[in-house]
């Protein structure tokens, strides 16, 4: 290491040496602050994960069963499935791997100033677009500015708000007649071109996770010549070319003929077949070898898949969950009722019944064991008598009657709800289940008084608490407000030192356990299925699929 380390890395290195910092968090921190991943693994005293299983073989076709969606506007993707189509042709600036460590992609190296306000991105110089042009800083800047423009409608905006984006009153009124807030770059020079292969992000405040944010799935780097649109024949820096795309039916990608800058691809052709949402159709297609992989497995098909000798189940623990969350209205306005709900739940049984044991039991607060700052504050044991007592104390000696809203997909959610409802019944919480189609649920998810809502995996515990439980946050679906919680959360967000953060996190978790608005039954593993002949594939916690890494060994 001849280069100078970021001061935070140096400090973290000392803490790590003193045993105060976990390897995983040190690794993540070092890499985010510009240490190359292999070097960071070395500093952490770990062997870099071996990526290859034997020598890759060339040739062949891989078919995956996944929804074939509209993919014409990459910057506004709101589904992982569309991003999984786009990413075969288009690259990201960075890539977060299955080990949660972010690595270079089109950005070869990055540096942050000590105050974390300015980030310098050094682009690769050896990347060409398939149509022959060289990839330069202008391409990167065009894409960054486009996703950060409010009018584009990209969810990337949320990640850069406060950093280089600032909110302002745009003079328009929203539907309710209130002044509407839009966002814009806080400074004309916020995204700055230094030279043809260097871009600077000049922020107004510190941000640690810029490299991770650059891998947010809609931030695919398009050729400016395509004007933000994507489709058959679109230019890209990626490993494949899209040659056929029929929404609802299939997509076909062929390997780039002039070679790919990043290693691979090994297969000649990658196809996506749309099998609909029906889980059993996916099994049928695997059984008759019409597809080699299924994008995401359904729990109801797992017993069958386990019997198929040519198929393997890929799974990884995540911070994915779904929470039974309440609004502060009767009967849930009393924290004792919310506690009763938690005491009445048997998380082990939910995990076993709804996920066939794939994952970990939840702990009724929203910080997962996979999060770096997770604090183990113990496991809440089911106690029906206590739940009944709490209900009686709250003035409901005969129990309560409530309705929970849930959606039918993915199927484990409805299973979990059914299991919990049976458990709650024993404590006198009689619950009706109201199932609505997913689309309808997402129109109402913040409005229903009692609902079961999916929460995706996010790398940091503070991120999820800030999104979902801070007073007034846009996704605070529980309308929950606790001044002490907010104060502690802000404190936690201010610590780079993970041990300090963990200490505060323990307090936050206890508050959630005591009076929080949610039941968190499980941390689920995500899983999918692939033919054993497919090598080089490892499931990503967000189920991102890169066909360039896989090969076939029959």
């Amino acid at each position: 290491m001849t280069e100078k380390l970021h001061p935070i890395v140096e400090k973290a290195g000392r803490e790590f040496a003193d045993g105060k910092l976990e390897r995983r968090e040190f690794l993540r921190l070092a890499v985010l602050l510009g240490v190359a991943a292999p070097a960071a693994y070395g500093m952490a005293g770990l062997a870099a994960p071996a990526m290859a299983q034997g020598m890759p073989k060339k040739g062949g076709i891989v078919r995956i069963g996944m929804r074939v969606q509209d993919i014409s506007n990459p910057h506004t993707y709101s589904w992982i499935e569309s991003a999984n189509s786009g990413r075969q042709v288009l690259d990201y600036l960075t890539v977060t791997g299955i080990d949660n460590v972010t690595r270079p992609s089109l950005v070869q190296k990055w540096e942050a100033t000590p105050d974390l306000k300015t980030w310098t991105l050094h682009l690769r110089r050896d990347v060409t677009w398939r149509k022959g042009r060289k990839f330069t800083a202008d391409d990167a800047i065009w894409n960054l500015k486009r996703v950060l423009d409010d009018k584009t409608g990209s969810s990337v905006v949320g990640l850069f708000k406060g950093f280089i984006l600032t909110e302002f009153d745009d003079g328009q009124k929203d539907a309710k007649g209130n002044p509407r807030k839009s966002v814009r770059l806080w400074d004309a020079n916020a995204v700055q071109k230094v030279d043809d292969f260097t871009v600077k992000l000049n922020g107004q405040s510190a941000n640690l996770s810029i490299p991770e944010s650059l891998f947010h799935y809609p931030l695919l780097i398009l050729s400016p010549e395509d004007g933000g649109k994507f489709g058959v024949g679109s230019d890209g820096t990626g490993a494949f070319e899209l040659v056929e795309h029929e929404v609802g039916k299939r997509s076909v990608f062929t390997a780039r003929k002039d070679g790919y800058w990043g290693g691979g691809p090994y297969i000649d052709r990658f196809e996506i077949i749309d099998l609909g949402d029906d889980a059993a159709a996916q099994v049928s297609a695997l059984v008759s070898k019409q597809v080699d992989m299924i994008y995401q497995g359904a729990i109801s098909t797992l017993p069958t898949i386990e019997k198929l000798t040519h198929i393997q189940v890929n799974s990884v623990d995540t911070g994915y969950t779904a929470v039974a969350r309440t609004h502060p209205i009767k009967p849930f306005d009393d924290k004792r009722v919310r506690q009763a709900l938690r005491y009445a739940t048997d998380n082990e049984a939910v995990l076993k019944g709804a996920l066939r044991g794939l994952g970990k039991p939840g702990e009724h607060h929203h910080v997962a064991p996979v999060h770096p700052e997770y604090a183990d504050i113990g496991y809440l044991k089911r106690d029906v008598a206590k739940a009944k007592a709490l209900l009686a104390e709250a003035g409901y000696p005969n129990g309560v009657d409530v309705t929970i809203d849930a959606r039918p997909q993915p199927d484990w959610e409805l299973l979990a709800v059914q299991i919990m409802v049976e458990q709650w019944k024993e404590a006198g919480i009689r619950t009706k289940i109201n199932v609505m189609p997913s689309a309808q649920y997402w129109e109402n998810w913040t409005k229903v008084p009692f609902g079961f809502t999916t929460w995706a995996h996010r790398p940091l515990g503070t991120m999820i608490l800030g999104l979902a439980y801070r007073t007034g946050a846009a996704w605070n679906e529980a309308n929950w407000s606790n001044a002490e919680f907010d104060k502690l959360l802000t404190e936690a967000e201010g610590y780079l030192d993970v041990e300090k953060r963990r200490a505060v996190m323990a307090k936050l978790e206890r508050i959630m356990l005591d009076e929080g608005p949610v039941v968190v039954p499980v941390w689920r593993a995500v899983f999918n299925f692939s033919d054993k002949k497919i090598k080089g594939y490892k499931i990503h916690p967000s189920i991102y699929i890169d066909a360039k890494d896989v090969w076939i060994d029959a």
């Binding site: 078919r63 969606q69 509209d70 014409s72 506007n73 506004t76 709101s78 589904w79 409010d150 009018k151 409608g153 969810s155 905006v157 949320g158 745009d170 328009q172 929203d174 539907a175 509407r180 807030k181 839009s182 966002v183 029929e246 929404v247 609802g248 039916k249 299939r250 077949i273 749309d274 099998l275 609909g276 949402d277 029906d278 059993a280 159709a281 099994v283 049928s284 297609a285 695997l286 059984v287 008759s288 070898k289 019409q290 597809v291 189609p437 997913s438 689309a439 309808q440 997402w442 129109e443 998810w445 846009a474």
Partner: protein, 312 residues
């Protein structure tokens, strides 16, 4: 007959108009969600507002309905919010697939039902009649999903003879016609079970008519009577019923299409309903209603042609 057709076509246009407004109004009771649907649950409200204005969704329902109808009459049915494609392109592709499945099934179901139905009804309560009756009731009583899952278990998992899904591509290791076998089989079992019963009842009724008895008493051979007198009359009632099957075969295949991942019209409509993809629901409903009404019209016309006693 010409006047009748003209009147019916006019009726049809009026009904279509009513249906289109009904569906539009039903789906517009809660507007403002379309932009949210396009951008997904994680977009900010200001982004949603931009798109709402951009798509013109902030205008009154009636204005949008008028605009929609204007465009629809010119053949433009708008864009699907979910698929983000012109509805017409999407619809005709899926409809084509469904028609193909329907045509093959029809070609199997109709001859099968007529032959079995006539043979059974010819000798009412004979052993063959009893066997066919029980068989057809059984078939018509097993829901398509149960039959489909059952056949999947046997032919795909256990025997491995047939492909489990029918994405209609011949390059996935199974020929196209193999992909049709299971869907057609499921549709046939369910629908033929019903049609056989219809043909049989009609045949039974005809065979009870006095003129058949008279012909038999006059010493004509049984088969001669059946061929020359009974057959034609016995097929008049089922004729309309048979035509009406086209309805089911166009709109009712949703279960089979879901089960076998068949990219057809029914599945498209199911997904559109679940995602409230208004443009697709609207166009699909209009198509389905037109098919229903056209088959009814043809049914009536054919009925008149077959049975000169009837004047509609």
């Amino acid at each position: 007959m010409l006047r009748y057709s003209a009147k019916q076509l006019l009726n049809m246009a009026l009904t279509l108009f009513a249906v289109s407004f009904l569906v539009f109004a039903l789906n517009e009771l809660s507007p403002g969600d379309v932009a949210r649907k396009v951008l997904g649950p994680y977009a900010s409200q200001s982004q949603v507002d931009y798109l709402t204005v951009q798509m013109g969704l902030d205008r009154p329902v009636l204005v949008r309905y008028a605009e929609y109808m204007g465009k629809a009459l010119a053949g433009d049915f708008g864009d699907s919010v979910v698929f983000r494609q012109p509805v017409s392109a999407l619809m005709f592709d899926r409809l084509g697939n469904t028609l193909l499945l329907a045509a093959i099934s029809f070609a199997v179901i109709v001859p099968l039902s007529i032959v079995l139905g006539v043979l059974a009804g010819m000798r009412e309560r004979g052993w063959f009649d009893r066997a066919v009756s029980v068989f057809s009731s059984m078939c018509a009583s097993i829901p398509e999903f149960a039959m489909g899952v059952f056949l999947l278990g046997i032919f795909v998992v256990w025997l491995g003879w047939l492909p489990g899904t029918s994405p209609l591509r011949s390059d996935t290791g199974w020929s196209l016609w193999m992909q049709f076998v299971l869907p057609v089989l499921v549709v046939t079992f369910y629908d033929a079970g019903y049609l056989i019963a219809m043909v049989r009842s009609s045949m039974v009724e005809v065979m009870r008519q006095p003129y058949i008895r008279t012909a038999l008493l006059k010493g004509m051979s049984f088969h001669g009577v059946v061929r020359r007198h009974a057959l034609r009359n016995a097929l008049i009632t089922p004729f309309t019923v048979i035509l009406l099957q086209l309805n089911y075969l166009v709109s009712g295949l949703v279960v089979v299409e879901t089960l076998f991942a068949y990219p057809g019209f029914g599945r498209l409509m199911l997904e559109a309903a679940l995602t409230k993809d208004i443009a697709v629901i609207e166009a699909g409903t209009l198509i389905a209603v037109s098919v229903t009404m056209l088959t009814q019209l043809f049914g009536d016309l054919g009925y008149m042609a077959l049975d000169p006693r009837i004047r509609v």
